[in-house]
Each structure stands twice: as structure tokens, then as C-alpha cells.
Symmetry: C2
Subunit: 685 residues, 2 copies
């Protein structure tokens, strides 16, 4: 059941009742429609919102980092130094940024489920479901021209078709210096109080002109007050709140330790690479940030799952569900549950099946992650090689029979990424491959067939050297040649990365099939059964787990206490200067020269960052924070450490998301940056 302000709600099933009862807010259709059409998903991983009718949108600097890095070269470091285009013809086109704007949602659950017959094996069921989803998407694409994705909700309880307007001409307008965008760096990541100008502005273009975006968010010149109701519209990535206890224990004891081992390994390798020279540090900056950010987030998740109180809470919830299922006979005849009397048996059986899946998974999870997911080959070069190899095999098939990522409706976006001209640095990729090939051997051992296949008679360091020195895949033209040449061009290629991807492909596909048939499909069926029981017991008062699709969250702006200390709901510009001075201006608490020089011009009392209880998770980075009037009062960019357990449970005792205050952006743009035209576009003056 929804507690307090919990919930990342579906836009087609918003919590109108709850908002009315808890906050006396009437969620109208026009409000919702404007919020939906003004919300942006960045496919590099994050959210944003249109803030002018001319395609201008805001997101986080750390979400924009991928593009900022790809627009940089040795000696021109936009990620570190920032950027501003004071005229439209100076806006910089990102090499491979794609954004999606949700247009509508259709429930296709019946159609998807109808394709799966009760007597099918897991493999047949998986294939049938993949085929029907692919068909629905293809028909939608053909009919509307919109990007069409069937999204699995409640881990298999519902299937919805999401249609997006897609923009691939995205241009950089403004980014601040990294020093102020992520003041405090890794130290202050997931902490509060925070003082970060974590914003970047892009503009979407269509046909070479700024896109027309009549649905946009008005920029609030006042921002939020303490206690005020706010909304977050964005794309939370993944949560595990509806996972069973057995799955969470597997996560705690197997998956998270492996993940942290991997992330710390990559982080060490990237830091070592970066320490070689300032240019090496520049090259490794975005990889390092994303790895360190993930390491900190997963560390918080592990602490959460190792907290007996949280595990007890999850156990209680599971028992409550069983009790409710056992009481099903007494429930109203109005419920849609088909077999009321078997609800308890269904739920218990589903829990047991999920538990059994975990035991199987342990036997091949690491091999699957390393070789099929690709953890053994931590470089976009390998992903490119694999796509070239697999497209040669998959594209001749019917769309419905292909591996899902090669379905017709996804090909355009896939090729846009695959043929990206974004720079890759041979020495960096070599270091990353050396680290991840070593990690492969560490996990499976030197005698393992997959290790021998991958290393081909060399040690990991020498193998990485051979792969990066010999490959031509740095050139987009070569990738195109291979994809266009199909299976034959691939088979004839002497490229060592292509040969590696080919050599392991049979084993990788076997692992994928095992995962699909022994884990994904049985879990999906079991979770669907649990979801049915849950609907029966609680109705739709529980939001589905996050799926990197648009959701609406709400909460109130409020500070909190830690160890007796009361933290205000917002910080100020002044606090950034104070903290930097106190720590001797040493990295990561150094401030940009522009800020030090311009300090006197600033109103130091300007609110900088603020917190609210709204329910967010990774992927929500860059989400607009709206007030009752639907105006943008902030840009969400983080959670505090207490919010790291939100993957599993919602709490508002101390857990908060953190946003840049809308006033802070205006004050900084006006006083410190020569960005008058941008301010004018935002607020008309």
C-alpha cells in the first residue's frame, strides 16, 4: 500500500485520489498533459524538461556529461570548463544524443498475454511474448511514425505501449564549469547539504530549426517554499520494491557483491589511467564519474539490504500479502481476480518459484554477466563489434524472431548510436579492456573455457593491447561497412575485436537463452501471478517498480534532522563559499575562478539546492520539479544517503531527493555568466 508520499506513478493511472486527500490538490487533465509533453527522456540515461516554446530544455550537468565529453577534445574541455552559445548558430550539435518525449500510453496487456499459451515451455513462452511485443511495436511505428516501446510493468503484471516523439538533433546551449556543477564531487554525491549548479541547457532541433514545443514548463522566479507540495516528472530507472525476499537476498549475497567488486575494479583502473596526465584525466572523466556514482549508489543499496530492519520489513510485506491472499474468499465479488479460491496457492507457488530461480541463477549468473552482458569487455568498442557480428546474423531473420534489440522498431535508434562519430581514445579503451579482461579471469579462473576463448593465449594486459592496436572499429565508416556487408563481411573481417565477438558468440547466446528461459520467463510469470494477487488485495494503490519510463511523483518540500542537527530545506550560495574556504579550496571543494571573482556581485542568500520527500531514484536526474501551478521550481539531481534504500523501501523520515533551486539558476546566469539571452528566453527579461 502507498505510504505517505510514496510512489512513482504511471501517467495513465495517476494518484488523483491520494493527491486530493493528502494535499487537497486537484490533478487536472490539462496539468497532466502539459507535464507529460514537456518532460524529456535522454537516452544516454536521465530526464529533462522543455522550458521554452523553442525546444530549449534543461537537464543536469551530470546527465549532459556524456555529450559534453563527446564534444570535447584535447585542449578543449567543455565538461570541465563549461560552454555558452549566445546565438543559436553557435549551439553545438551532440554527436549521438537522442531524446524522447512521451505522447501517449495504451494498455496492451491482454494482447501480450493472449500470445502466451498455458502449455508452452518457458522458451516457447519467451519467444511468443517477444514476437507479439515486436509486432505491436512495429504496427504502431508504421501507423504513427513514433518510437513505440512495449513496457513491462509490475515485472510482468501489465504491458503498456509507450509512444514517443524522438529528436536526434540535440544541441548544447549552456553548461557551467564542472567545479560548481558537482561541487564536492564524489565526497558529496548522495549527501546533503549540497551546493551544486547541476544544470545544463540543450535545444532540440527538427529539420535544422529549433523544435516547436508549445508544451513547456514556465520557469518559476520564486521557487518553492517550505512545506509546499511539489511534483517530479521524470524517468526513474529501476527499483526493486516489489521483488520477493528470496530475490532480495540473492541481490544482497550474490549480485551486489559482484557488482561492487566490478565497479571498484573499474574505478581503480580509470583513476590510475587518469593520474597519468591531465589529458588522460580528461579522457577518463565521464567513465570515472558514472562508475563512481554507481559504486556509491550500489554501496548504499547493500547497506540497506544488510540492515536487518529493512529485511524484516520486506518479510512482513510478503507475509501480509499471503495473509491477504488467504483471506481472498472474503473479498468482494467485485474484484477481477479470476480464481479467488486459489489466490493463496498462487501467491505461495509464485514465491517458491522465484526462490527456485535464484538457486539456478547462482550457477551461471557471473558467466552471463561477463560474457553476454559484456562486463568482461568494458569498452564501447566491444559493443560495436558485437552489434556488427549479431546484425549480420539477425537482420536476415523476420523482425519478430530477432534478439529483441534488433527488432525493426529499434533499428533506427540503434544505428544512430552505433555509427556515432563521438571520439574514442585507444589508450583509454586499452586500459579499460585490460581491467575488465582481468576481472573476467578473476571471476571464472584461468582454466575456464570462456576465459581461454577471450584471452586467446595471452594475459589480459597483452590481449587488450592486441585488441585495441589491431581494430579498425574506431572509424564509424568501418562499422557501416560491416553492417552493410552483413554476415559475409563479418566472417571475412580480420579485425581482432570482430573475431573476438564472433569467437564467443555461440557461448554468449547460450547463456542468454539460459537466462531468458530459466530466469526471465519463470520470474515474469511468477511476478504476474503475484501482481494479480496484489491487485486483488490492494487494488491499484501500489505503483509499479521503475522502468525508465515517465512517472509522476509528488512530495513536500521540507528539511530534516540528522543526529540532532536540523537541516534547512534549502542551502544558499553563501554556504558554497564557506565550505570551500573551510577546506582550503582543495579539490573537490574548489570553486571556479568565475565564482571566486564574481562573489561580490552575487546575492549570497540565494537558495541554491532544496530537498523534498518526493519519490525518486536514479534516472530521475534532470527531472523537472513542478509546483501546483505546473511551473518549474527546480531540477532534481540527486538523493541523500538516506534515500539510497529507496530501491527497496520508501521512507520520508530522512530520505530526500535534492534539486537545484530555480532561483539559483537565474541568479547565476544573470550575475556570473554572460547569458542574458538565455535568461530572457526563460523568464522574458
Amino acid at each position: 500500500m502507498a505510504h505517505s508520499d510514496e510512489g512513482m506513478w504511471l501517467l495513465n493511472d495517476p494518484p488523483r485520489q491520494l493527491l486530493k486527500e493528502r494535499h487537497q490538490f486537484d490533478l487536472t487533465d490539462p496539468w497532466l498533459k502539459n507535464a507529460m509533453l514537456a518532460s524529456v527522456r535522454l537516452n544516454s540515461g536521465g530526464s529533462g524538461g522543455f522550458v521554452s516554446p523553442d525546444g530549449l530544455f534543461v537537464t543536469n550537468h551530470h546527465v549532459a556529461a556524456d555529450s559534453l565529453q563527446k564534444l570535447s577534445t584535447a585542449g578543449k574541455d567543455l565538461l570541465r570548463d563549461g560552454f555558452y552559445a549566445d546565438a543559436r548558430d553557435k549551439e553545438l550539435k551532440c554527436p549521438d544524443q537522442e531524446i524522447n518525449v512521451l505522447q501517449d500510453i495504451t494498455d496492451v496487456t491482454k494482447e501480450v498475454n493472449a500470445a502466451v499459451k498455458p502449455d508452452m515451455t518457458a522458451a516457447e513462452a519467451f519467444a511468443a511474448r517477444r514476437a507479439v511485443m515486436g509486432r505491436i511495436e512495429k504496427e504502431s511505428l508504421d501507423k504513427t511514425g513514433l518510437r513505440s516501446d512495449v513496457v513491462t510493468l509490475y515485472n510482468g503484471g501489465l504491458y503498456h505501449l509507450y509512444r514517443y516523439k524522438k529528436y536526434t538533433d540535440v544541441r548544447l546551449v549552456f553548461a557551467p564549469e564542472k567545479q560548481i556543477a558537482s561541487f564536492g564531487g564524489d565526497v558529496d554525491n548522495f549527501e546533503y547539504p549540497r551546493m551544486n549548479l547541476d544544470v545544463t541547457f540543450f535545444r532540440a532541433y527538427e529539420n535544422g530549426q529549433p523544435a516547436k514545443t508549445p508544451h513547456f514548463l514556465k520557469w518559476s522566479q520564486t521557487g518553492p517554499q517550505s512545506g509546499e507540495l511539489v511534483f517530479v516528472t521524470g524517468h526513474p530507472g529501476t527499483t526493486q520494491r516489489l521483488e520477493t525476499l528470496a530475490r532480495l537476498k540473492h541481490r544482497r549475497d550474490e549480485l551486489l557483491p559482484y557488482t561492487l567488486y566490478r565497479l571498484r575494479t573499474l574505478e581503480a583502473a580509470l583513476k590510475q589511467y587518469g593520474e597519468q596526465s591531465p589529458e588522460c584525466a580528461r579522457q577518463a572523466a565521464t567513465d570515472l564519474h558514472s562508475v563512481a556514482n554507481a559504486r556509491k549508489a550500489f554501496s548504499g543499496q547493500l547497506q540497506g539490504l544488510l540492515d536487518p530492519k529493512i529485511m524484516e520489513q520486506k518479510q512482513r510485506a510478503e507475509r501480509d500479502l499471503l495473509r491477504a491472499a488467504a483471506d481472498a474468499r472474503g473479498l468482494s465479488e467485485q474484484t477481477h481476480y479470476p480464481k479467488l479460491r486459489s489466490a493463496f496457492d498462487d501467491a505461495m507457488s509464485a514465491l517458491e518459484r522465484i526462490e527456485a530461480v535464484q538457486a539456478k541463477l547462482r550457477g551461471f549468473e557471473k558467466a552471463h554477466a561477463l560474457v553476454e552482458t559484456g562486463h568482461a569487455f568494458f569498452s564501447p568498442l566491444f559493443g560495436i563489434a558485437r552489434h556488427c557480428v549479431r546484425m549480420g546474423d539477425e537482420l536476415p531473420k523476420k523482425s519478430a524472431d530477432r534478439l529483441r534489440e534488433y527488432r525493426d522498431s529499434n533499428l533506427e535508434s540503434l544505428k544512430y548510436q552505433l555509427f556515432s562519430p563521438a571520439p574514442l581514445y585507444p589508450e583509454l579503451e586499452r586500459a579499460k579492456l585490460a581491467a575488465s579482461l582481468t576481472f573476467l579471469a578473476e571471476n571464472l579462473g584461468g582454466e575456464h573455457d570462456l576465459v581461454k576463448l577471450a584471452l586467446a593465449g595471452k594475459n589480459p594486459a597483452a590481449r587488450a593491447e592486441e585488441l585495441t592496436a589491431g581494430t579498425k572499429l574506431f572509424a564509424p565508416a568501418e562499422r557501416k561497412r560491416l553492417v552493410e556487408g552483413g554476415a559475409q563481411a563479418v566472417a571475412e573481417s580480420k579485425d581482432p575485436l570482430i573475431q573476438l565477438a564472433r569467437a564467443i558468440d555461440a557461448e554468449a547466446r547460450k547463456l542468454r537463452a539460459r537466462y531468458e528461459n530459466e530466469v526471465e520467463e519463470p520470474e515474469r510469470q511468477a511476478y504476474a501471478a503475484l501482481a494479480a494477487v496484489r491487485f486483488l488485495a490492494y487494488g491499484s494503490t501500489v505503483a509499479p517498480d521503475a522502468t525508465f519510463t515517465l512517472r509522476l511523483a509528488f512530495g513536500t518540500v521540507q528539511g530534516y534532522e540528522v543526529g540532532g542537527e536540523k537541516l534547512n530545506f534549502h542551502t544558499t550560495f553563501g554556504e558554497a563559499f564557506e565550505k570551500s574556504a573551510k577546506l582550503g579550496g582543495a579539490e573537490p571543494f574548489d570553486l571556479p575562478k568565475r565564482w571566486l571573482d564574481g562573489k561580490d556581485t552575487l546575492d549570497l542568500k540565494t537558495p541554491f539546492n532544496f530537498v523534498s520527500t518526493a519519490d525518486t531514484i536514479g534516472g530521475n536526474s534532470g527531472s523537472p520539479v513542478l509546483n501546483r501551478a505546473g511551473e518549474l521550481v527546480g531540477i532534481n539531481f540527486d538523493r541523500n544517503r538516506h534515500g539510497l534504500v529507496r530501491n527497496f523501501v520508501y521512507t520520508d523520515v530522512q530520505a530526500r531527493h535534492i534539486a537545484v533551486h530555480s532561483k539559483a539558476v537565474l541568479e547565476a546566469l544573470r550575475k556570473l555568466y554572460p547569458a542574458a539571452p538565455l535568461v530572457k528566453e526563460l523568464v522574458g527579461q
Copy 2:
């Protein structure tokens, strides 16, 4: 068989023949005696050499780091900023530095082996051997007053009694800035060319006066020439050259991955701690250096063991030994091998037994390392708590029956460490405990009994907070109180760390006993059998693996080629300035202000670091490098990356150890540091 310049030779079995044949050098007894009595072991882990008759000795800055850190406080950072005492009464006493100087060696193999009867169980054999070693040490200590250690050589082939003169009043004389001591930091660690002034001078005191050290090494004012024969006298820590292939595979597939996982975990935690503020960085500096250094060394070892060429070489060596054993009948009757005809069976059986041990070890190795070795509790506070607990149980027993570290002959050194007044920082220890308790849970899983015992119903972060906030063990007086109060004081203590150490002690001791009886003793017996076969086949032309005891290595000073580039045998001061300038003076390639300011006064052609083929390993840090005349021409401080496989195989194709040139030290002391008295003590002018 010894190849080329391979070998870390025993001082009582030096390679006289080899030196004569290969280098026409006549190793005389006086030369050897002076080298032995002038060589110093630092028990914090490293080597050094007396360089004046008044107790002055030189070692590496990175070996001295432990003491430099312990002498530092907030605002006074000797590790970073360096130190010089221009008068003896300004020399700073280290809080817990102990140095040992080897006086003589006695072969006690017969006595030790006689105590172990063929019909004993592994547990009985282990106890009998521990008892006889303890007795020999105790008798020697009582008779001579010297620190007396029975050392196991050839993994059980020989037992030698080493007697040391011990100094515990060690004072800091001179240390340079860390910037120049480890110029290039982690990036250049295990790399060449190098430009490091990695030296620090201490003075040993006795009865409050500078120790009289008539055996010292004359400081060479010229240093070595290319092609010159040099010697390294120091204390190599551990090598694994005589390990069997099965053991090495275990190392590659189990132990090293676990070790790297652990080190990267600790490194990440320490870096995160240090990034919080400059003071946090200061506190974490030595831990971070030692963890990063180990991570890099073990990474190199893993690359070595994943190199099929190296594993083939080890397999060949093992097969050669079996062949030699099979040919034993044809060997001279002069050999001492007792059962010539069974040599092959003995060797084969030993190999098989060692292989069987590895299979057993896999079942409990991690639990043993975490809970008995203490990896789960990465803080000196836990070591202190455990000693207090165990001393209460062990000291009432007869010395021979105690856990080996509590034998009478070791108690003085142990207490010197245990009651050290060196500062500990609660927040740093909290962070280290949080990281290592998390690592415990990651490895054993949240349901494991040992994890539940250690975490006591909290998550790792909260448990670490509880332990460090509640303990009184920061105070040496409390440690003394507990040790003096014995088992009763310990039982009554409410200290959470004492209670933790007590709570897990039964399980920890069980794991230790399993390790001793199922691994240590069977391996020792099997390696003794292999050693016997090896003596039979090759005589004493194979040096034992390193054991952190004094060894003599020799080699020639020579450069080498990498990728077609010829590297000179030495670098120069000028190269340090060039490299720093090229990399924009950014950390870790920043130079001390003193060096930048004084650049013009320096002879930039002064040789800075040089390389030779002599056989070294970790523990040799700070070892004197001597010429034919027995003069000090350098101070060893590192190996290059090609030397990282030296744990397993010796090669001189590219592998080199790296030393600070004796001339560099004089030039820097004369021109940059106000250290005329020190120079005068070294060279008389």
C-alpha cells in the same frame, strides 16, 4: 637451477662459486660479515643499512612512511613536508619503530625435524614443531639476550635459527618531501625511468645515546658504472618460485582475485575518506599508499600467472624435477638423499598432496582470511582488541603451547607494538571498519553465522560507528590495563571491540586450527619432501624462497629495451624537471617548491635513479646496493613492471630493480637541503 643472476641467497650459504665464475668476484668472509652487520631490518616492513659508526642508517622514504605518519599531527605533516634535524637533540624518536640487525645463523633442521615423529597426526606434528621451535628460540634468547627466530626455509626443507640485535629507540634524522620521494606516485610505481629521492635517514640509539655501529657501509661518492657488478643486502619478503603448479593455479584463480577484490575495496574506501578534506587525506596517506602499492604488485603477479608462457615454464620445471627424481638411481652415491630409489614416488606424492590441499583450502580460505587473518576488521584497533583477548587466554599457558605469536621470545616486540602511543583517528578507523565489515558480508553473505556474529544486528556502516564510538582502545593505558588484568579484565570489559574479538574467537581459532592442520602442516611436509628431491637433483644451487630474512643478491648495472626504445641505466635530475613541466606540474608529477626554487643550483646531469639485474622483491625496499668494495652505491626502492613476475620466475631480459643513486643523495643534500652536518657524517666533508 640458478639462471644468470637469479637468487636471494642465504648469508650462511652464499653463492661464492657463482660469483667467481660469472663475475670473477671473490666473496670474502670480512666482506660478508661487514655487509651482514651493516644491514638493517625495519619491522614495519623494509630494509636499510648503517652508513656511519654512530648508528645512522638509510632506508626508503616509503619504508619510513609509517614512522613519518606516526610522528605527524594535524597541521604538522612530516610525511608530506619532510624533516631535518641539524643537531642530535632534535632527532625525533619514533613511537614504535623496531629494527633488527642479524648477528648469526645456526642450522637447527635436525632438531626441529626430530621432534616430529612419522606416526603423528597433522595436528600433533604441527604442535610438536611449534613447541620445539619455541623452545630453541627461548633457550637462545635466555643465553644471548638476542631476538631469536627459527626461520622455515624451502617451505619446510630447512630450519635456521636467526639471532638479531634489536633496537627500539629509533630517531628520525632526515626525510625529503613526499613529492620528490615518490615523484610520479602510483602512476610511476613499478615503472622505469624513475626520478625519486626515495630515502630517509634514521639513527639507532642505545641507552639514550647514538648506537655504536662499527660495521657500516661507506657512502660512495661516485656510484655505479654501467655493467658494474653490484650486491643487494636486504630482507625480501615473500616469493613463490618453489611453489607447485597446483598451488600457483590456486593463487591465480582463488587467492589473487580475492586479494585484489579486497585491496580495491580498501583503496576505494581510503580514497573516499581522504577526499573529504586535506586533513582526512593526511590521516589516510600511509594506509592508502600501502594498499595501492600492494594492489599494483598483486595485479602484476596476476598478469604473470595469467600468462600461459609463465605457467608453461613452471610446468616444465616441475616435470624436470620429476625426471631428475626418476633418474635418481643414476645419481652419485655421494648425495644425502636417504631413500634414493623412492625419490620419484616421493616427489609425485608430494605434488599430489599439495594439489589435494588446495581443494580443501577452497572450502574455508575466505572465512579464514576474513576472520582469523582479520581482513574483516581492517583497523589496528581490532588487532589490539584481539591481542588483549588472546593474551588473557594464552599467557597463562606454557610458552611452547601458546599460539606462536605469544611465545616468550616474541612478547617484548609484541608489547612494544601493542602499547604504541602512535595516534589513531576515530573517523578513519570507522571508515576502514565499515569498508571491511561490508567486505566480510559481501564475501560470506548476509545469512552466514560469522557475518551475523560480527555485525550483531546492524548493517556494516552502523556497526562500525558503534565499535569506534564505544571503544576505549585508542588509549594505550587501557590496552595495558586489559593485558595486565588478564582473562578476567577482558571478560568484564564492556568495550564493544573487546566483546567483538571475544565473540568471534572460538570460530576464529577453529579456522586457524583447520588451516594449520589441513594446509600448513601437510604442505610443509610435502614441500620438505620436494626440497629433499631438489637437493638430490640440483644440490644447493637453488636459493630458498624469500622469508623477510637477510639475503644477498647480486647483478649487473644495465639498461634495457622496451618496444625498441633503449632505456639508459640511470636517469638524471634534469629528467624530473622535464617530466614535471611536460605534464603541467599536475599531481603526482608536481615538484617541491624547494626543488623548483633551487633548480639552478643543481647539476641537472646528476644521476638520479639506476637499475640492475639483481634479484629483489618487496621487503627489499631500502636495501643497500653495494659495489665490489662493499661501499654503498645506491638504495634499492622498487622493481620495474617487468620485475613484478619475480614472485614466480626470475628474468633479466627487461626485469630490473631500481635504486636511488648515491650521488643523487649527496647532490640534493648539499644543494637543496640545509643538511651539511648529515653530508659530513656520510662522506666526511
